[in-house]
């Protein structure tokens, strides 16, 4: 007899794995501190001084509590709350991302509609697409000058490709029958684009957007480590420089949580535009 549904059982298993994982982690920490008796020499050279070790989960949780209970404090350039740092990162990601969408979706539409444009632009897309977004950074810094804008540019350039390619692919793959329905109803090109092609290609386009936002969030951390100043990427690097590994572990977790939320939002959108043929 099944008392619990599949989802409930899965959730239970997740919790068990989490608790077991945390316990093992917690138990493993004292081992690294058990340095045993120190020699005179070691004591003199400071080897036995409070060594920066991987923090136990209890310390991370305490840190998280402390940070999350006051996420927006601002005590100077090197001491800002986690909320502010994440806010900066999200702002950069969304700015770059929406600029990319603004270019990629109309442009993808165009090359999806025209075989000629598709074939003509394809080599450029294929060459530009595999370039690591961070490789653009020096060029962006040189041309744009501003580090903030450069970070946004890097997000723009990395999120444009999946959206562009998926839009073109989705638009090119719209069923001939549906286009014929538009034609026999004398819809103009704009009406056809918005009432037939866009909804028909929407699931593919949104899939591209979802991939893009995922990549953009991956890239922003690295980009902020380079440009510095603010943002969650900078925060991680700064805490590493401070040798505050508790904060590092905590911010890694936060990066994961934010990334998951962004993805979940697009997952929702994806479900909204999905249709069954």
């Amino acid at each position: 007899m099944k008392l619990l549904s599949l989802n409930q059982r899965a959730a239970l298993l997740s919790v068990v794995m989490l608790v077991v994982g945390l316990l093992i982690w917690e138990a493993a920490i004292p081992a690294q501190n058990a340095v045993g008796e120190l020699t005179e020499y070691e004591r003199l050279t400071g080897a036995g001084a409070a060594k920066a070790g991987v923090p136990p989960p209890s310390a991370v949780i305490t840190k998280a509590w402390e940070q999350l209970s006051n996420p927006f404090y601002d005590a100077g350039p090197n001491d800002k709350g986690i909320g502010i740092q994440i806010g900066y990162s999200i702002y950069r990601v969304l700015t770059g991302y929406f600029l990319a969408a603004l270019v990629a979706i109309p442009f993808g539409f165009l090359i999806g509609m025209s075989q000629l444009a598709y074939k003509a632009f394809n080599p450029f897309i294929q060459v530009l697409r595999p370039i690591s977004p961070l490789a653009w950074m020096p060029l962006a810094l040189f041309i744009i000058g501003d580090s903030e804008a450069s970070a946004i540019f890097v997000i723009f350039i990395c999120s444009i490709w999946p959206m562009l390619i998926n839009t073109a692919f989705g638009v090119a793959g719209v069923r001939e029958d549906w286009v014929n329905v538009a034609r026999t109803h004398e819809l103009g090109p704009f009406k056809t684009a918005f009432t037939v092609i866009l909804p028909a290609a929407a699931p593919t386009i949104v899939t591209g957007m979802r991939i893009s936002i995922g990549i953009a969030w991956l890239v922003i951390v690295a980009a902020e480590m380079l440009v510095g100043g603010t943002g969650i990427g900078y925060y991680v690097w700064n805490e590493w420089n401070n040798l505050d590994l508790t904060s590092v572990v905590f911010s890694i977790l936060m990066i994961g949580v934010v990334g998951m939320s962004l993805d979940a939002m697009f997952g929702l959108l994806q479900r909204r535009v999905a249709y069954v043929e």
Partner: protein
């Protein structure tokens, strides 16, 4: 006088991939009168669908012209409604929205309520009422989907209705029901209909006239068979009519044998390829002076 819909010397050729041309059909010439229900019968590959696409304006003929109501057909138009074999409903819209989509295109100045009422009325005419109209096409059976497609086309009241094997993908029972609904809606609207089918019984039930095509390539519309069974017709009663089996035999003979024999014959020079009129009527007295139709009175017994 020209018929309402006049197909004149229509020719379609495609490159055959070996440098030459493949002639699908050549110099096809026939007409359809206003309010007439014309069915075209022929084997696969004889170019029926190509003719249909040209009439719909979705394809261009190699040469020749289609003239409807005094105007040449160029490109698709709301005046020619199409019911496709695969329904061609937009899957992201509800049943009702699929019909209002067409109505809104036809009557851009109607308000939302009027558009919706009109759509609901036509959906009801094909037996779709209540909650069903808010379902997505994927939640409907094949028969229901085709009903929606028929409602969408009829709601626009086009000058010409084109039905491309509308019942081809349906089971026999569903087909029967929808044929009745089609006859019903057609009877109410005096719509000119041009339909493709493979099904002889369906053709006899629905048509005023059946055009018979020879096999392709170089297919021709060889005969135009008048269905001399009075309306309203009913599938159980028409089989009792003395003309039913005579007409049916003629059609079976044509599709089974003569469509092959007549295939691939080039058009005699200077002649159009218009079909020969055939009238089979066993209820007529043999010396009917009113009959002005020329030649070929097939008398099958």
């Amino acid at each position: 006088m020209k018929p309402y819909l006049s197909i004149e010397k229509l020719t379609q050729r495609f490159p055959d991939g070996a440098g030459g041309d493949l002639t699908v059909f050549e110099d096809a010439t026939f007409g359809v009168e206003k309010g007439e229900f014309v069915v075209i019968l022929g084997h696969s590959g004889c170019g029926k669908s190509t003719i249909m696409n040209i009439l719909a304006g979705l394809a261009e003929p190699t040469s020749g012209a289609v003239i409807m109501d005094g105007q040449e057909v160029k490109g698709p138009s709301l005046e020619r409604g199409v019911v496709f074999q695969n329904y061609s409903l937009l899957p992201w819209l509800s049943t009702l929205k699929n019909v209002t989509f067409g109505v809104a295109a036809r009557h851009p100045n109607w308000n939302r309520q009027k558009i919706e009422d009109h759509a609901v009325k036509f959906l009801a005419m094909v037996g779709l009422e209540g909650d069903v109209i808010h379902r997505k096409p994927s939640q409907l059976s094949g028969g229901m989907r085709q009903r929606v497609s028929i409602a969408r086309a009829f709601a626009n009241h086009p000058k010409l209705m084109l039905l491309d094997e509308p019942f081809g993908a349906l089971d026999a029972l569903t087909r029967g029901t929808i044929q009745d609904e089609l006859l019903n809606i057609w009877g109410q609207m005096e719509q000119t209909v041009f339909m493709i089918t493979h099904d002889i019984d369906e053709a006899i039930l629905l048509a005023d006239r059946i055009l018979l095509m020879t096999n392709g390539p170089q297919a021709r519309v060889a005969e135009s068979v008048e269905i001399t069974i009075p309306r309203p017709r009913n599938r159980t009663e028409i089989v009792e009519h003395p003309n039913y089996y005579a007409i049916r035999n003629h059609l079976v003979q044509f599709l089974g044998k003569r469509s092959k024999e007549l295939a691939g014959q080039p058009t005699p020079a200077g002649q159009t390829n218009s079909p020969v009129s055939v009238r089979i009527d066993k209820t007529e007295t043999p010396d009917d002076p009113e009959d002005k139709r020329p030649a070929l009175r097939a008398v099958n017994s």
